[in-house]
């Protein structure tokens, strides 16, 4: 129902600027909304406020020097960015990894996926006005950051992975702490369910809001949890297992409505699956070296390579063109947030302004990855 149809209540078109400084735009994203009363007629994304020129900087950095920059792409999922990057360089060089290194990488990647989803569900609830769930999510996220700190020395930007392995072996206390964390999570999920998922206000504000259909999602190149919430269960870890994901037994949660509520719930389900992977990784963690034998100076052979992994927000791809020197001739980063954001105007058209906030929060983008 459009208000404009009602002649008595005819309103003028209003252009509303949301952001770049706005509490619910998750950073420096700006949306230009054309409104008819409360309803969005048209929406335009304005991005680039965090464009730091990483791809140009990469041309002047050696391969190992660029690794810390990948941490700052999707800063809520640093380990996953690193994993994608080092795997791409390894694919270019043809490096085989020791098994322990692969296992440690998987542990870090899945922990990071949980941490990233916690940021998402926490800030989603915060955008809808719920401060307490955000507190709970960040409380649990701190435990993961403690684990990262234990192995890498840094909380958010660990720079832990290396071409050919990882920086350092696990501390003796790491595995017991990790087990404690895994044991603590089911109680937390129950809390999230009680306070958010089962909350009547939350359901009323998210059910059926910001629907992204399966066809639209595929056409717009949307991947990750947003695609799986639209009913298409494509997860690269299952479809084309990279690293050693084929060794793990886990499910790919799929939801079918494609609305904000599904996009929220699927993340909680994915965290549960990540915990399953973590449990198996701990049980089967082999001994051995953590670093493959690679040359001291990394000079990949001439050539081009594209590699993608399942990041926390979708397919994270790296395209590297090497000219045989120790510096890449080009690194292109395919950030899932960037592409997912492209579908947002379509999802928001026709919604009320308050639902735009819900939809923006539900697709979970990080501006560092959008603008690069």
């Amino acid at each position: 129902m459009s208000i404009a149809e009602d002649k008595i209540l005819r309103t003028e078109e209003l252009t509303l600027n949301m952001g770049p400084q706005h509490p619910s735009t998750h950073g420096v994203y700006r949306a230009i909304l054309v409104l008819d009363g409360e309803y969005v007629q048209n929406m335009e994304n304005v991005i680039g406020y965090l464009h730091r020129g990483m791809e140009k900087l990469a041309e002047a950095r050696t391969y190992p020097q660029f690794l810390p920059y990948t941490d700052r792409l999707d800063y809520a999922a640093a380990m996953l960015n690193e994993l994608g990057y080092v795997q791409t360089v390894e694919k270019l060089m043809g490096v085989e990894l020791p098994e322990r290194a692969e296992f440690i990488r998987i542990i870090m990647a899945e922990l990071q996926r949980i941490a990233s989803h916690l940021v998402m569900i926490g800030s989603f609830a915060l955008d809808l006005g719920g401060f307490t769930p955000w507190m709970y999510c960040f409380r649990d996220r701190e435990k993961i950051l403690d684990l990262f700190e234990m192995v890498a020395g840094a909380r958010m930007t660990p720079a832990y992975m290396r071409v050919g392995g990882v920086m350092d072996d696990l501390n003796p206390e790491f595995i017991p702490e990790l087990k404690k964390f895994i044991d603590s999570m089911p109680a937390s999920f129950e809390e999230y369910d009680n306070i958010v998922t089962g909350n009547e206000i939350f359901i009323a504000r998210t059910k059926g809001v910001g629907i992204l259909t399966a066809e639209k999602a595929l056409a717009y190149g949307v991947t990750g949890p947003n695609l799986r919430a639209a009913g298409i269960g494509y997860d690269l870890r299952k479809v084309a297992p990279y690293s050693i994901y084929e060794k793990f037994d886990f499910d790919v949660p799929v939801f079918y409505n494609g609305d904000s509520f599904d996009r929220f719930v699927i993340r909680i389900e994915e965290m549960k699956q990540s915990l399953r992977i973590l449990e198996q990784a701990i049980a089967n963690l082999p001994d051995g070296p953590i670093q493959a034998k690679i040359p001291r100076v990394i000079r990949p052979p001439e050539g081009e390579v594209y590699h993608q992994i399942e990041g926390s927000k979708g397919l994270l791809g790296y395209y590297i063109a090497s000219d045989g020197s120790n510096k890449p001739s080009r690194i292109h980063i395919h950030g899932p947030s960037f592409v997912n954001l492209g579908a947002l105007p379509e999802m928001c058209t026709g919604l009320m302004v308050q639902d735009v906030v819900t939809t923006i929060a539900s697709i979970d983008f990080i501006l560092g990855e959008v603008d690069r």
Partner: protein, 153 residues
């Protein structure tokens, strides 16, 4: 055409069909073909509609130096998982490539990004404007000829 044909078969088929204008990229780590720009849109459409490579996963470009540019496209199909790279050399004084926004709306933002960074014109794009940089920015930073002036204090 069966939608599960292997990439090798698809490439062989295309190379035969468009002899001389489409070639296989040898010694590549990923399966890759190189297409002339006039032919590219047709090939992309064929890959999408007949061979099941219906997901545009990545779109970017490469500066080959001396004013030459190359469009890089990665198409994939989810089931079975196949990934194909298409390389298209952009020709002309002002480098241009055909836009594939019509086939994949996903290309919209990515083509704008390449335009912003490399200055490649996408013929047929509905709204080809700068996306990351502001409108008054001079030059296209990812071109090799663009030299960054250090602003360190």
């Amino acid at each position: 055409m069966d939608k599960t044909t292997s990439l090798e078969e698809i490439i062989t088929l295309l190379v035969e069909k468009y002899e001389g204008r489409l070639e296989r990229v040898e010694d590549s780590l990923d399966a890759a073909i190189r297409v002339k720009d006039q032919l590219f849109f047709q090939v992309a459409k064929e890959l999408k509609e007949e061979h099941g490579l219906d997901f545009l996963t990545d779109l970017t470009a490469l500066d080959l130096g001396e004013g030459k540019f190359r469009g890089i496209y990665h198409l994939m199909s989810w089931k079975p998982y196949r990934l194909l790279r298409i390389e298209v050399d952009a020709s002309g004084e002002e480098p241009w490539l055909p836009s594939i926004t019509e086939l994949w709306p996903a290309a919209n933002v990515q083509e704008r990004e390449v335009f912003d960074m490399f200055g490649i014109i996408y013929d047929g794009h509905p709204n080809l404007t700068r996306i990351l940089l502001s409108e008054d920015f001079e030059g296209h930073p990812l071109r090799k000829s663009y030299v960054t002036k250090s602003r360190r204090k």
